[in-house]
């Protein structure tokens, strides 16, 4: 392995190969790029994959001020401690998953850098686990994005109860998803690799009556 850092009894390693080896997202086989160029260009629902992002699962103690301070310094964003909230800047998004768990996304190439920085600077008992291979991110937008989510998840997506930047982990069809609202008609879904094909079929089906546009 190119680089393994063992520090405080834990290891992190760069998991990405050199750039000449292309990564394959969980929806690689669906060839969304071809669908984007050859499929319909207008419709009520637009889906875009954000493949190969760096995803890091952070667990730490929000009552530990040193940790909270360190996270802010490391990410440039304060740890969102309110339930179901998220925070972001140009480089990263951090999503509340549970009282001691967050999901951080960064550019895929920057995951290891961030892991190494945590390893060097994060105090106390925490864990930061690279889960980039385990998920993919889909953005779903358009006039009927809300309807597709209503058909799929048992959550209230009305703006009054699901404002922008809110994050929920919930049931999605017969699988699950982490849903974040980016804008009124724009959502982010983070879905597990092994369920990605099922959910992609589901989303196409749920979008059919509104017209589905795939964007690259």
């Amino acid at each position: 392995m190119s680089e393994v850092i063992n520090h405080n009894g834990k290891i992190v390693a760069d998991q990405r190969p050199a750039d000449d080896i292309a990564g394959q997202s969980p929806l690689h086989h669906a060839d969304l790029n071809s669908l984007a160029s050859q499929g319909p260009q207008t419709g009520g629902v637009t889906i875009q994959e954000r493949p190969l992002q760096g995803l890091l699962n952070l667990r730490c103690n929000k009552a530990d001020k040193k940790q909270v301070t360190a996270v802010k310094k490391l990410l440039g964003v304060a740890l969102p401690c309110d339930p179901l909230s998220s925070a972001s800047n140009d480089d990263s998004v951090i999503r509340w998953l549970s009282p001691d768990e967050w999901l951080v996304s960064v550019d895929g190439a920057k995951a290891f850098e961030l892991e190494a920085a945590f390893q060097a600077n994060m105090p106390g008992h925490y864990s930061l686990v690279n889960v980039s291979g385990g998920y993919t991110i889909l953005e779903i937008s358009g006039d009927h994005a809300v309807d597709v989510i209503k058909k799929s998840a048992p959550i209230d997506v009305h703006q009054s109860s699901f404002p922008n930047d809110k994050v929920v982990s919930t049931v999605f069809a017969k699988s699950g998803a982490i849903i974040r609202r980016i804008a009124e008609d724009h959502f982010e879904l983070i879905i597990r690799r092994s369920f990605a094909d099922y959910l992609w079929i589901w989303l196409q089906d749920a979008s059919r009556e509104y017209g589905l546009v795939v964007k690259r």
Partner: protein, 1005 residues
């Protein structure tokens, strides 16, 4: 065919749009805006079905969802067949094809009539219980016959071509019913800023107002309705759902709405549109404005076509411009029944008389009748109607004041239509769904919703309030209450003006007397759909069924697809009366979801076909498909089962895969194994508590196998956990156990040992895992890695970080085959790349992909268990002969320790896992076979344990098996026998389950 019963004008139909349709193979014409029922009545179709038990001809009785008879089979093609559709709710469309549900083979020429007529006497309540149960051998014959005759409709033999789906809805206020109360409530709530859903089962909003000549705020009621609907449509947060039946009311204001989106277009439905949609609604407040249903009266032969409820008559005239007959007689116990006479007369048809069961008739009704010259026959009743396929005449006789007996000579009148009104039954069904018992209100002679724990409000007819002005006020009040309770805006809403008529009290009458006793009178039907008669109810009471719940089950009262909407109250009252009890004493049966039948399609939604169950795939799935893998379901995962080459049988493929792995190198996609990243200074302590063996001294860079038990000491998972760094571990679990194990770790951490500093993170999907196994695995891997693979530096049960095919990897030298093996883990985005690179280099080693079946055989040759196959939740580690994996000297009493020390767990004769060698080496014992020590003991033989795993081993040239045998670990070399279903007995010898390489040399090279 001409529409003889269609009035010259009137109704909410569009006469410029004729529609052609087919019913029971005959073509008819109706109009846009008709229901199938109104179109059939317009065409003079009297008989729409045959009755369930007696096969009597039946006609349309109502104009709504309470219809018991006009239950039809819809669909112009096999694929679009829909059973149990109420003709009164089905909008007419061009090309509609329907047929009677009951009445096989033909409603007019009736083969079942024979049974019906003979059976009429022969089929008392409980007939099925009493007759068809014996002899039991004939039950299947009976069942086929009964089901066909029962006419419950049929499903399509082809796949349904339509799409059904579900949608989740949340709202402040769900208003059920869009009659005057519902509309007023919804408007009030909407104006106050509430998120509102209003649903109504009819095609248009308005409910009873669409059938009436009521004036509201100086306008015709229908105009008021249209203004309210228009205003509601302007609110962004108001969802209007016509053609949508609120079918179920569940705990904490969760309701299901069955919306029929395109059913009214039939085959002309637009492409890509959903046919039916199930709304799953969570409402902060529910306002039930479901109205009331009219009770028909129970009298002799009251099921003859031509007998209808009086509101149905008014609805057909006012809404559809159809008068379903020539001359009408009305029988009523109340003032409301007179409306049918007024509407019939005003439509230009003849009303013979209104028969009022009350002795003194006063007030407005009298004036209205006098103005039209219609005769009122008071203190009388229609005791019986006459005719064979349609009413031809009625018998009218005076009755006594309490309606219990005929009090004078009868007269026969010639009429073809009978309207009856026994008063209103509030539609309390939904309020019953959550367990609330309705309560009897003497003043309205009906049940109203009882106390409930739901956040539920009611308005209008459901409360027994029937005057439009009062109903509107109740609707507004309910809306205001909801707003107030939810802390929303206060609004003032003026109650629309509507003339409320003064009414005189109604007479409670549930069974019209006949000059003969009930048991000998012509059949007086209570529940049309299940052919339950007044005599039948009385008989069941006589036979000792006193509780109304027992009466219901014995007679089948209310068991039809209409749930007894028309008949229940009459039936209960008849039972009460017969037992000399009051109605509240007798009580009522309650209604359950669904309010009206719904299609299986709507229940299934999109969870059908390829979406029925998620299929989980690894990153290597495209390769598996391209290389012809056969797949096996492991939970939701699709795992390669074996990889047959052209022309190969499964057996051949397995033999080839097994040999190749033992002789050179095979590869398995093991990505589905559960993987949990564990970090923290107490990780090691935690592992010691959840595994049965010791973890305190596992060095960094080492891997160890562990068994996980429940508190009862029984094995529930196993796997290898590796020490990545001092405070950092990677646990693997079985494929099926991944989620369960993570939850197991979390429950102990969160509820028992929160003081331990440890975090768990699932990384199952993050890592692709591929196992190369066999003597050439080292040579193969060496071609792709810079890692020193020599046994000295990278020994068995070590792991190392290295690069494989250019991708950073974790390599674990662990083995489930007993061969030299390497488990390569890379981030899943690069899994397929590495897999393909292994094959690029693997050709010279005959690298052979294998699936779960070969994995099972190879591990069985080594005696390795599979949790869930060789365990069943009643097996502890010692039973498995795995005492080596139990460390009872650990300071903490690990999970399972106390459990496996229980008295029963230390018996010497427990079933223990052993190997089996069959005497005939070619025979493979079927898995699941039960063993006996002596095959010559008489049946039932004492069974000593079953075969858990059994295979042909090509490597060993004989069959191998693992089995539980009582006290088996101390019976090595003894014989055990497996009697088979075909009478043969397979003989086997108990042996160690490690069939191959017992010293483990192969994996240590």
């Amino acid at each position: 065919m001409s529409q003889d019963n269609r009035l010259k004008s009137g109704g909410r139909i569009d006469r410029s749009k004729p529609l052609y349709f087919v019913f029971n193979n005959v073509s008819y014409t109706g109009y846009q805006g008709d229901t199938l029922a109104s179109a059939l009545l317009a065409n003079g179709v009297d008989i729409v079905g045959r009755s369930f038990k007696y096969s009597r001809p039946r006609g349309i009785v109502t104009a709504g969802s309470d219809e018991p008879n006009a239950v039809i089979q819809l669909g112009s093609s096999e694929a679009t067949q829909t059973p149990n559709v109420r003709a009164t709710q089905q909008e007419l469309f061009e090309g509609l094809v329907a047929s009677s549900t009951n009445g096989w083979p033909n409603v007019n020429v009736d083969a079942m009539g024979l049974v019906g007529k003979i059976g009429g006497k022969m089929m008392p309540p409980g007939f099925y219980y009493k007759t068809f149960m014996f002899p039991q051998s004939l039950w299947e014959t009976y069942e086929t016959f009964i089901r066909k005759a029962a006419g419950l409709g049929r499903s399509s033999y082809e796949n349904d071509v339509d799409t059904y789906d579900k949608i989740n809805q949340f709202c402040d206020v769900l208003v059920v019913g869009a009659g005057p109360a519902g509309l007023a409530a919804a408007l009030t709530a909407a104006r106050g800023g509430a998120r509102v859903i209003i649903a109504d089962e009819q095609s248009e909003f308005g409910g009873s107002l669409l059938d009436s000549k009521q004036i509201i705020d100086g306008k015709p009621a229908a105009e008021w309705v249209s203004e309210v609907v228009s205003e509601l449509a302007t609110f962004a947060d108001v969802l209007l759902l016509p053609r949508s039946t609120v079918n179920g009311y569940h705990d904490q204001n969760f309701l299901t709405i069955h919306q029929r989106c395109t059913n009214h277009f039939g085959d002309q439905a637009p492409a890509n549109q959903v046919r039916e949609r199930m709304h799953r609604v969570r409402a902060k407040r529910v306002i039930l404005a479901t109205g009331a249903q009219e009770r028909p009266l129970v009298f002799g032969n009251n099921d003859l076509p031509g007998c209808m409820t009086s509101t149905a008559i008014s609805t057909y005239i006012n809404r559809y411009g159809v008068a379903p007959g020539k001359n009408l007689v009305v029988m009523t116990t109340n003032d409301y029944g007179y409306q049918a006479a007024i509407d019939w007369h005003d439509a230009g048809r003849e009303v013979s008389a209104v028969v009022d069961t009350r002795a003194n008739v006063q007030g407005r009704c009298v004036d209205e009748m006098q103005a039209r010259g219609i005769r009122i026959i008071s203190g009388s009743a229609i005791t019986e109607v006459h005719g064979s396929k349609r009413v031809k005449a009625v018998t009218i006789a005076p009755i006594n004041a309490d309606g219990s007996a005929v009090a004078g000579p009868a007269a026969k009148w010639k009429v073809d239509t009978v309207a009856s009104s026994g008063g209103w039954s509030p539609a309390v069904h939904l309020s019953c769904h959550t367990g609330s018992r309705p309560v009897w209100k003497e003043d309205i002679i009906g049940f109203v919703p009882g106390p409930t724990v739901q956040e539920q409000l009611t308005a209008g007819g459901i409360n027994g309030c029937y005057e439009t002005g009062a109903v509107l006020k109740q609707g507004i009040d309910a809306g205001l209450t909801a707003l107030q309770e939810l802390g929303l805006n206060e609004v003032t809403v003026a109650v629309p003006s509507a003339e409320d008529l003064s009414r005189t009290p109604a007479m409670p009458l549930f069974l019209v007397p006949h000059k003969k006793p009930t048991s000998r009178a012509p059949k007086q039907f209570v529940d049309y759909q299940n052919d339950v008669t007044a005599a039948g109810i009385e008989l069941s009471c006589r036979e000792g069924f006193q509780s109304i719940e027992h009466v219901k089950r014995y007679t089948a009262l209310g068991f039809g697809t209409d749930q007894g909407k028309l008949g229940n109250i009459n039936g209960m009252a008849i039972a009460a009366n017969f037992q000399n009890k009051t109605i509240p004493e007798t009580g009522t049966t309650v209604f359950r979801p669904n309010y009206t039948p719904i299609t299986f399609g709507a229940i299934a939604g999109r969870d059908v076909g390829s979406l029925f169950d998620p299929k989980r795939y690894t990153a290597m799935q495209p390769w598996h498909i391209a290389h012809g893998a056969k797949f096996e379901d492991v939970g939701q995962w699709k795992r390669p089962w074996y990889f047959p080459k052209a022309g190969e049988s499964m057996h051949d493929a397995l033999n080839r895969e097994c040999k190749a792995t033992r002789e050179s190198v095979g590869i398995l996609d093991a990505s589905t194994l559960g993987k949990i990243d564990i970090q923290g200074k107490d990780a090691r302590e935690f592992l010691g508590r959840v595994y049965t063996n010791a973890w305190a001294k596992l060095a960094v860079g080492k891997c160890r196998y562990g068994l996980m038990c429940g508190e009862d000491g029984m094995v529930f998972d196993d796997g290898v956990t590796s020490c990545l760094a001092e405070n950092h571990f990677l646990m693997t679990t079985t494929t099926g156990g991944a989620a369960r194990v993570l939850e197991w770790l979390e429950i102990y951490h969160q509820t028992e040992w929160p003081e331990l500093e440890v975090y768990f993170t699932s990384v199952t999907d993050h890592w692709s895992t591929m196992t190369i196994s066999g003597p050439n695995s080292r040579a193969l891997l060496a071609e792709l890695t810079d890692c020193d693979l020599s046994n000295d530096s990278f020994g068995f049960m070590d792991w190392k970080a290295a690069t494989v095919a250019g991708v950073p990897a974790r390599i674990f030298r662990i083995s489930f085959t007993g061969e030299l093996s390497y488990e390569i883990n890379v981030q899943a985005n690069y899994g397929l790349h590495v897999w393909e690179q292994l094959f690029a280099k693997g050709e010279k080693y005959n690298l052979t992909p294998y699936g779960t079946e070969t994995m099972h055989i190879l591990r069985a040759e080594k005696g390795f268990i599979i949790v869930g196959q060789d365990t069943d939740g009643s097996i502890h580690p010692h039973d498995l002969g795995m005492s080596w994996a139990v460390a009872d000297n650990k300071p903490f009493s690990y999970i399972g320790k106390r459990g496996m020390a229980r008295e029963d767990c230390v018996r010497p004769d427990r079933k223990q896992l052993v190997g089996l060698k069959t005497t005939d080496p070619l025979v493979v014992i079927p898995e699941g076979s039960q063993g006996v020590f002596d095959p010559n003991t008489p049946i039932p033989m004492p069974m000593v344990g079953h075969v858990t795993s059994s295979y042909w081993s090509e490597n060993l040239g004989h069959s191998i098996a693992m089995a539980f045998v009582k006290g088996g670990l101390s019976k090595m070399g003894e014989k055990v026998y497996y009697p088979q279903a075909d009478g043969t007995v397979i003989e086997a010898e108990i042996c160690s389950p490690v069939f191959l390489d017992p010293k483990g040399d192969r994996q240590n090279v």
